[in-house]
Symmetry: C3
Subunit: 140 residues, 3 copies
């Protein structure tokens, strides 16, 4: 068994879902990992990782709207407001989604379903550079 | 260290939580994996994985009702409606729960707590065949 | 590659977020695991695991309040009420957060972001002893 690692960076332009499946699969191909597990870990608390529908863009718009409604900004009961009204809701939204993902690798790529894509969910209004740790266990 | 893999199928009859802990443990026993990690990955975006109370069925009824209330169907602001009023909420509900799980294996079975069970959460009204990738790292 | 395992116990005094990052890093140092993956698995269904902001305590207070509002206790439609009005909401809150986490290890510690900490989220009103399985794959 072999171990491979890298850090991916996703640059965001404010709130929303940013696809990065291709960047992960490119590394897996470069490393020649034909079978094993891929691990993704996001080093931030105001963004998160999501696996969701990759085909119809309106699905993503609905997910973004849903999060705005589920954990709305600028509520009077928020105390953690020093960095702005979008900061505390960004931690709430991150808590409800994912910071770490484990995805099987087969045939030199992530074994995603036909309609699955991996997204960085930016929860802050302002753009950020987000760091995602990629680790691969090759089992062949 | 050894690597084992299989694909499980769970057939659903519409929305709800479907237990499948036994199917995973049966594979682990067949493979003779006494110690290591089990990885579950669901290849769908309108269903999800949940670990929850396995003892009292009313706990599951409450979880199903809760999701119906948290991400209700047929909202006027939904745009992703081509496949029906339950499609976009199914992605929301999947996003709030899990697509991948990593569970320790000891003594030839998943090291779940006394009251924990693994469930496939079907979010669509119609029944589906859901594919779950099972991967096991045996460490002995 | 080597495999290390232990069980951590977090004692809670009722609802809230309890940090335990240091206990995990202490084990990793004792084992001398310089690089690999750390896996955390909580053996309970009325508590959960969360990675979130570790710097400003008001961020945690907002997350706790948010969960109280998102999955409120003592609702008339709850059926799973035998163990009290906080029991069914505790399963809902656990379902929305995490039971398992996979975190890369580098330089003899978890590769968390600068502001990330790991928390046990107790969802029951009464204090509990919570068991977290820690597994480490050392790859060097």
């Amino acid at each position: 068994m072999e171990w491979y690692k890298d850090t991916l960076e996703v640059r965001t332009r404010g709130k929303g879902l940013y696809p990065f499946t291709d960047a992960v699969n490119a590394r897996i191909r470069e490393w020649g990992v034909s079978e094993g597990m891929g691990f993704l870990f996001l080093q931030h608390t105001s963004a998160s990782l999501v696996i969701s529908e990759s085909y119809d863009p309106t699905a993503r718009i609905d997910l973004e709207q849903f999060m705005d409604r589920l954990a709305p900004e600028n509520q009077t009961w928020h105390r953690h407001t020093l960095e702005g009204g979008d900061d505390s809701p960004s931690h709430m939204r991150a808590m409800l989604t994912d910071t770490s993902l484990a995805i099987p690798i087969d045939n030199n790529q992530l074994s995603l379903g036909a309609w699955q894509g991996i997204y960085l969910f930016e929860h802050r209004a302002r753009g950020h550079r987000r760091r995602i740790l990629l680790r691969c266990l090759s089992v062949t």
